[in-house]
């Protein structure tokens, strides 16, 4: 027990040290949300059995990109304290009342991106039901990220210089956080993109649900939809990306347009849509992004090849023949070697050539070496 007490004291001192090093929270709780949400056990278990935590750490929230947005700019449903159970939740197309877009002077909003997303094959409403609920909503891919996970606070050696003219330390810190994050590469790596897409597209039950629904509605569904992930992983692109070779195509390199990456990735369309970069009429153009000399023949190549009979019978039978030939050849050659060894051993050959001969063993066929 004594040991435990010492550990607790040491832990307490350590936490105090961290607290001392942590900058004063920039997040101002003007709406009093932390009255309740400061408690770590502020949580509930949903009807689906999922534990939902509503605990807010101000010192962490202060380092996130939404730090300047008051809670109720997004949580618009809340009008009183304590508030009633939330029905609709947050939608990212909501206009902020407190943050103005500096370019237009209008209330800031993610609405342009949300509108593009709603037009895409992934588009859905916040309260979607049925197979639509399988589709990703904003928070499936996006959280409220830290400006910079490796920086507890803006580096003083940089911001000190700024404050000489700009005077207001808070303004300088905000400006530093915003611009330093924007100029940093924050896009997902190819491996992360594949992993993200795979979270849904590799879910066999989700795939089945969508296939059934499409079949019931008599709607066409992509030939590769059910095997998108496994066939990509087997492809040369997939293997290269798995090994960290960033130049190989990941999901978005073909399925998203290149006009504006940040917008295009939100407006992915099914391959049957003429606007999709993988639509048959646009494949040459899409392949040419990397394969400069690609032509219509090249665009015929299957980028997601499998040896499944239903997907590609040619490859299925070719692989079958290869396997049969492989097994027959190896078995035949190994069998021949063993047979030869058996025959020669019976005739008295030894493993090693010693004293000028390999035939110093006694033969079962007679005619031994003269000693």
């Amino acid at each position: 027990m004594r040991m435990h007490r010492w550990l607790i004291v040491l832990l307490g001192l350590g936490l105090a040290g961290v607290a001392a090093a942590t900058p004063a929270p920039g997040f101002q709780d003007t709406e009093g949300c932390l009255l309740c949400h400061k408690y770590p056990r502020m949580a509930r278990i949903t009807d689906d059995g999922v534990l939902r935590s509503y605990y807010i750490l101000p010192e962490v929230f202060s380092r996130t990109v939404h730090r300047n947005v008051p809670c109720r700019d997004c949580h618009t449903e809340i009008n009183e304290l304590p508030h009633k159970p939330i029905k609709t939740g947050v939608t990212c197309s909501t206009e902020c009342h407190s943050v103005k877009n500096p370019a237009t002077g209008k209330p800031f909003s993610h609405k342009p991106i949300v509108d593009a997303y709603r037009e895409s094959v992934h588009g859905r409403s916040k309260q979607a039901i049925g197979t639509d609920a399988d589709k990703p909503y904003c928070i499936t891919c996006h959280t409220n990220p830290l400006y910079n996970p490796t920086e507890l606070a803006p580096p003083k050696q940089i911001t000190d210089r700024c404050t000489l003219c700009h005077e207001d330390r808070n303004f300088v810190n905000r400006w530093y956080n915003h611009t330093s994050r924007r100029i940093r590469e924050v896009r997902r790596t190819p491996e992360q993109i594949v992993a993200l897409c795979s979270t849904c597209h590799d879910d066999k039950r989700m795939v089945e649900r969508h296939q059934k629904k499409a079949s019931a509605e008599g709607r066409e569904i992509g030939r590769k939809f059910a095997i998108a992930v496994e066939s990509y992983e087997e492809s040369f692109h997939g293997k290269m990306v798995k090994y960290g070779f960033a130049a190989a195509a990941n999901c978005l390199d073909c399925h998203a347009d290149t006009v504006n990456y940040y917008k295009s990735v939100h407006e992915i369309r099914p391959s049957r849509d003429p606007a999709s970069p993988v639509h048959k009429d646009r494949r040459v153009e899409t392949c040419k992004r990397c394969h400069t000399y690609a032509d219509k023949n090249y665009a015929q190549l299957d980028p997601h090849p499998t040896s499944k009979r239903g997907d590609n019978p040619f490859r299925y039978f070719a692989e079958l023949i290869y396997n049969i030939v492989g097994y027959v050849v190896i078995t035949g050659l190994v069998g021949l070697s063993l047979f030869e060894t058996f025959g020669r051993r019976r005739d008295g050959v030894a493993w090693r050539l010693t004293h000028g001969s390999s035939w110093w063993r006694k033969s079962k066929r007679g005619r031994d070496r003269v000693v």
Binding site: K239, Y298, V329, F339
Partner: protein
Amino acid sequence: MKLSREARDVLETSMLQNRVGAKDRDEIETLVAILPDDRVLLYKNVVSNPLGDLYRYSIHIRIQHMLTFVTFLMLAFTGLPIHFFESFWAEPFNQVLGGVSVTRIIHRTIAVIMIVSMIYHVLTITLGSWWRMRAGTFDIRRTIIPLWKDVRDFREDLQYFAGKRKTRPEMDKFNYKQKIHYFAAAFGNTVMVVSGSSFLFPELWAMILPTSVASHWQELMRLSHPHEALLALLVIAFWHWYNVHLAPGRFPMQWTFLTGKITREHQIEEHFLEYLRNLVEQPAERKALQDMLESRELLAETGRKGGKS
């Protein structure tokens, strides 16, 4: 020993091609006559140097073998982790050489060296054959080209292994096993080069081929490259290395790929027709063989001292 019709023909051809004089011809005929009738006694009783006794491969062939040997293993080491990307060993194997961004460069560079080695080999055998043809010493039986005799040799060898035949067939410089292996390697290398080029230049191949074939071609090549590589690796590991390292009489290593020479007992057992040519081309071998057989009193009756064929 009374030579078979085939062996007699090889011997006569060799003596003719080497313009053997009457004295040497008599010496060769005498030696052949006093050889024991049972060839098994011959190869069981000669003395062999494990490093090799009789010249077999030129320095060019040895260099080509070394180039193929090194490039093949390096290509397999850098290529297989890409194909078997899900295997537990794939990632560490790949990382050993610096990851895929490095191994892909190594793989392509070594592939070029392998192709150069192939061209070097084709030039060697083509020019060598041309040179022999001009000199009047070319004999198709001495080449790697498959002949009907190989089929017969194969059948007779199996009969010997099964104990249904007393001796192994009289095989030439390259026996049926070597011919199978050589042409399998030649075919395999060609498949690897063609399929590899379809990965490196996919646009070019798509441009050349008709639209209806382009996709199937690429799919076939993507199957062929790893399948052929794996088959080649297994054949090398379980057949070639067994034959030259682990087979009885060859353990722990057959030195031919370094010294260019084959042991006397091996030559007589598996390449008897070539051994007859050795007797024609190397007078010292005639003397060595006669001494060995005399010391063991294995000369045929007609060949005992003072005897005549």
